[in-house]
């Protein structure tokens, strides 16, 4: 499997406190790598370094072998998509939300068929003309998935994508993650929920106090003994 993303000795220090500490890992094509750890372990901070939403104090990231500082920030963020913890949809219709990303790329317009295909992938067939104000939390989060996928990213970052949702919406979103994983989308998901990571991930890395302490197949990293230790 080719390596899509390589984090190399990433460190982030904020106000003298090391939040991410010398973290390195690879993400292979078509895998879902789960980064697990307790709250405050630095999971979201690490994820934000991968698409340069925040700047690492040291270290870098290679995207398909290229240092991400050599790629324009906007191009990088199209290549490394992200779904946030809470569904931040833009005012307007679902279709307008999906068109937003490609429009930023030299005004490329998504066709109605492309929009319907994206909505089908996230289980929202027929929602294109729906005003986002009428969506439930789970539906809004699925729109965020479709919106991120509209840019056809090389890798998708998922920042605790179900933690702000109720149980039913959480299952819907997990279904979407499973579906896009099956389609070969490469993803990195951070979560504090070891069970969810076990259900979804192919590989996993355990983060403790900003450091990766274990990385490997999800079945090994996320077994009961290691998660409780």
């Amino acid at each position: 499997m080719p390596i899509i993303l390589q984090a190399q000795q990433l460190t982030r220090v904020v106000k003298g406190k090391t939040i991410v500490n010398d973290v390195s890992f690879d993400v292979n094509a078509s895998e879902l790598l789960a980064i697990v750890g307790p709250s405050g372990a630095g999971k979201s901070s690490l994820l934000r370094l991968l698409n340069r939403l925040d700047e690492p104090t040291s270290g870098t990231v290679l995207i398909e072998g290229k240092d991400y500082r050599e790629i324009s920030t906007r191009q990088l963020r199209r290549q490394v998509g992200m779904v946030m913890q809470r569904p931040f949809v833009f005012p307007g219709t679902v279709a307008e939300n999906l068109r937003f990303g490609p429009q930023q790329q030299q005004g490329r317009a998504l066709s109605d068929q492309e929009i319907e295909q994206l909505l089908r992938d996230v289980g929202l067939t027929g929602y294109a003309a729906e005003d986002v104000g009428h969506l439930s939390g789970g539906e809004a989060q699925r729109v965020c998935f479709a919106r991120a996928l509209a840019n056809q990213p090389a890798v998708l970052l998922l920042d605790e994508p179900t933690s702000a949702l109720d149980e039913a919406a959480k299952l819907e979103v997990e279904g979407v993650i499973r579906r896009i994983s099956a389609q070969g989308v490469t993803a990195v998901m951070v979560t504090h929920d070891f069970r969810q990571a076990r259900r979804l991930a192919t590989r996993a890395a355990q983060l403790v106090s900003g450091r990766i302490v274990r990385v490997g197949p999800a079945s090994e990293v996320l077994n009961v003994e290691t998660t409780l230790s």
Binding site: L53, E55, Q75, R78, M84, F100, G101
Partner: protein, 260 residues
Amino acid sequence: MLKQLFPNQVTLGFAQAGVTAVLAMIVGFAARKRGMHVELETLIALGRGLAQIVAVGFVLVFMLKGPQWTSAVMLSVMVIAAGATSARRTKKIPGSLEVSVWSILIGSGLVIAVMTWAGVIDGAITSIVPVGSMIIANAMNTNALALDRFRAEVEAHVGEIESALTLGAAPDVSVSPAVEKSFSASLIPALNNLRSLGLVWIPGLMAGMVLTGSSPLYAAIYQFVVIAMIFASSGLTSLICTSLIRRRIFTPAEQLAMAR
């Protein structure tokens, strides 16, 4: 009552200032009862405001007899002071002082220059300084409102802004809703002044002109001219401020840099 107690005009003025200050402090203490602590800030602002205006009064007396260029010096000092005052509440925004000074300078300076050139504002120090100061003061308030609203909008919508960035949007695009709201909100006072002119509000300039013997009709029209100039300079100031500030909250790598 005060006129009988203080026959001297200057002491009467200080007595009147004292009464209004007491009234303002009562409001400050009423706010304290509701948990809003503005009494110290009110007291300092009152003392400072009185000291500043009395000092400027003395300077004006000297400068009004001076050469024409002194008006440019006075107006420039006012612009810098206005920039500093308006940026004070938005320290979280990097470069807000610089943005404020430039916005007020261009917004009010352009309107004052064009209107003086066209003969709408008399070039005499006695005219250009008071009218200019009104324009600068209003530009300052508009600038402060634009900055404050922009800060609040960005703080309340960090998720939306960063979501747009993660989709490859330019920083300008990601904050455009905040810019639009800040621009509209900052112009509310200037718009209200225009709308309510003569109905709710008969400004002092018109009253002063009538008292000094100008035709009431001309005084009324000139007051409209001043309010329209204030609106123009406020709009321009806000436009420049929101255009400049939107870039200041991002790093060169297009990361949101405003203190959170």
